[in-house]
């Protein structure tokens, strides 16, 4: 019971508080943005025809009603919470009358599939390579790895992504240029193969940078561990190298690494904006981008909400899992 009361409960409350504050801020931010969705909708409707002022006012009222934007900000806020708690994110403004729920549902799979795989692959790769390269720091392959990853790391992501795209989709058209898959969606091999083909370049662009980051982090953490008394003592006692690397070094670098993995996995729900835009990938990042440039409040809110819940939940899970990774972390 003390475990529940002193460890789990405070963290759950914190989780709720973070979500509450996050949701409130996301509610406010688009409402102070200079782009007004009603003007946008009106201008779309009036682009091809002239309306009398009275008709415009009537139209404005009906759009406000439709979008749930009537009343003071406070009334909107209450109505907003009511809808959220029902799990209804409202209609998208720009793709009206499509519901935000449906749009997110359609794109989230792409994003989770792409980013989830990338985050996990890059984490494992960077962690293992970084630890090994730090442990065997005088070997040629470790120097080669370190030098190449440190060279790649500072290249801005959009340049790396663009170079990959130009090279492998344009000059050497090995991979397709846009989209997430081709043919009828389904669990057929032909379809899955096109999905993998489409995902390869965006994945590669993410994995390179993320691996480099993880590698550098793992290497720094490992060199600290190697100098520690317990690793030195294990070396002196001639413990097998494998044991030292995995149980004595890597295990001790786990805490910060797992934290970071959790947060990166939580951040998946924001989508990878630049990746999805550069590679025209039909994920949640593209939807967010479109929503922002067209002031699609509900859409922005829906995605932001998702990422707030995602990151808050991820850090909750990371927090709850600490005692498994480090016995020194006991609940307070």
């Amino acid at each position: 019971m003390t475990l529940l009361k002193e460890f789990i409960l405070p963290r759950l409350l914190q989780w709720l508080l973070v979500i509450f504050i996050g949701v409130t801020i996301t509610f406010l931010i688009p409402r102070v943005s200079p782009v007004n969705p009603i003007d946008q909708a009106l201008s779309r409707l009036t682009a091809f025809q002239n309306l009398s002022p009275e008709a415009t006012i009537a139209l404005r009222a009906s759009i406000e009603d439709l979008y749930g934007l009537q009343g003071s900000i406070f009334e909107q806020y209450i109505a907003f919470w009511k809808r959220i708690l029902r799990g209804d994110l409202g209609p998208s403004f720009t793709s009206f009358p499509m519901m935000v729920n449906d749009i997110i549902r359609k794109s989230i799979g792409w994003t989770i599939g792409l980013l989830g795989t990338c985050v996990v692959i890059a984490w494992l790769l960077g962690l293992i390579l970084g630890t090994l390269a730090s442990y065997y720091r005088n070997r040629w392959w470790s120097r080669f790895l370190e030098n190449s990853l440190i060279t790649v790391y500072p290249i801005p992501y959009y340049i790396l992504a663009f170079v990959l795209l130009m090279l492998f989709a344009y000059y050497f058209p090995i991979f397709p240029l846009v989209g997430g898959g081709r043919g009828t969606p389904g669990l057929t091999w032909t379809y899955i193969r096109t999905v993998i083909q489409h995902a390869t370049l965006p994945a590669l662009s993410i994995i390179i940078g993320a691996t480099a980051f993880r590698f550098i982090m793992a290497k720094a953490l490992t060199s600290g561990e190697i100098a520690s008394d317990y690793v030195q003592y294990a070396e002196l006692a001639a413990l097998p190298k494998r044991k030292i690397i995995f149980s004595y070094i890597m295990r001790n670098t786990m805490l910060p690494q797992v934290t970071d993995l959790g947060l990166s996995l939580g951040a998946i729900f924001e989508g990878a904006l630049i990746t999805e835009v550069v590679f025209s990938y039909p994920g949640i990042g593209s939807s967010l981008y479109n929503a922002i440039i067209s002031a699609d409040y509900n859409m922005i809110m829906g995605i932001t909400l998702l990422s707030i819940v995602g990151i808050a939940t991820a850090s909750l899970l990371v927090d709850l899992s600490y005692p498994f990774f480090d016995p020194r972390v006991r609940y307070r």
Partner: protein, 337 residues
């Protein structure tokens, strides 16, 4: 008493260069000694005199920037004579824990914080013997019980143990495979006297049971008085005096040893203790001649130029001091004349 470790004219220097400046620190400079089997051989000396460096070389655990420049170290086991300094890495690893073991300085942090004590024991035992987890756990349980350590430490993590318990667990970890030769580097430092006593008792118990040879390094002469059979006194990278502990503690000859013994507090004597004048020399630029001469009240001209060699004043009592050597020779001449 057969010798188990033979050290001949050992020189180990730290070579460093930073920003184009070469520096050589002569931490061990020409040490010759024989460590007798089955005894506790104490090495005493103040901080920075080269004790730990000597131990590293004796263990064969020296790494750059520490280089062995000259001399030899040989382990004389019953079945084999091993020249440690020319061994390759793998043979050296073979010797560790089974034959030669090490109790480290500052045992506070030598236990992996994320592993239970029984798992650490398993790691160390399994590295040298084919054992299952159950077998090593059984071995550990028996051994800890014999040393009088509570069984519940096995399931604990290192941070859950007190400093003294951690040190005793580390000593058990270092000695569980009954090595012939155990090097202990400041095993009681940073522990309060009550806990020190526990640690000293455990070391005595191990020695009694296994008949292992201990090489005990500490600056604490009280611990030496308690444990050591022979004591070697180190000053500025050189041996200055070596004899059985009784002689060192009761009838020291070298001026430095005399100062050391005089500085020990006694229960019945409340007068102020005299400390040794001056400071220990920097080992990258030691004084010529006898390294103790700038601080020595007896120093004569010869001391400033000629480095004194270790001379056996009596059987089993060696001293490196011109004044002492000459005085003994005069006595001898007078006796013969």
């Amino acid at each position: 008493m057969p010798t188990i470790v033979e050290v001949k004219d050992l020189k180990a220097y730290y070579h460093t260069h930073a920003y184009g400046v070469q520096r050589t620190v002569k931490a061990v400079d020409g040490i010759t000694l024989n460590i007798p089997e089955g005894q506790v051989y104490g090495i005493a000396g103040e901080s920075g005199c080269g004790k730990s460096t000597l131990l590293k070389v004796l263990l064969g655990a020296h790494k750059p920037p520490l280089y062995v420049v000259d001399g030899s170290v040989r382990y004389l086991f019953d079945d084999a004579q091993i020249a440690t300094l020319s061994l390759d890495e793998n043979t050296l690893r073979e010797l560790r824990w089974k034959q030669v073991s090490y109790i480290p300085q500052g045992s506070m942090h030598v236990l992996n914080p994320v592993r239970r004590i029984e798992d650490i024991f398993h790691d160390f035992v399994a590295a040298h013997q084919q054992v299952s987890k159950a077998e090593s756990t059984q071995l550990t349980r028996t051994y800890l019980r014999e040393l009088g350590l509570p069984e519940k430490v096995m399931a604990a993590y290192p941070h859950q143990l007190s400093g003294g318990m951690r040190q005793r667990v580390t000593i058990a970890l270092a000695t569980i495979l009954s090595p012939k030769l155990i090097f202990a580097d400041e095993p009681t430092t940073a522990l309060d006297v009550i806990v020190q006593r526990g640690v000293i008792q455990i070391l005595k118990e191990i020695k009694r049971r296994e008949g292992s040879t201990f090489v005990l390094i500490t600056h604490d002469l009280g611990v030496h008085a308690n444990l050591a059979d022979r004591i070697a006194v180190l000053y500025a990278g050189k041996l200055v005096e070596e004899a059985d502990s009784r002689t060192i503690l009761k009838k020291p000859l070298h001026p430095y040893t005399k100062f050391l013994i005089q500085s020990l507090p006694r229960l019945d004597d409340r007068s102020t203790r005299v400390s040794i004048p001056g400071r220990p020399p920097a080992l990258d630029n030691p004084p010529d001649g006898c390294r103790f001469h700038p601080r020595c009240p007896l120093a004569v001209d010869k001391c400033r130029t000629v480095d004194p060699a270790m001379v056996a004043i009596q059987p089993g009592h060696r001293v490196a001091c011109h004044v002492v050597t000459e005085a003994t020779e005069e006595v001898r001449h007078a006796a013969t004349a």
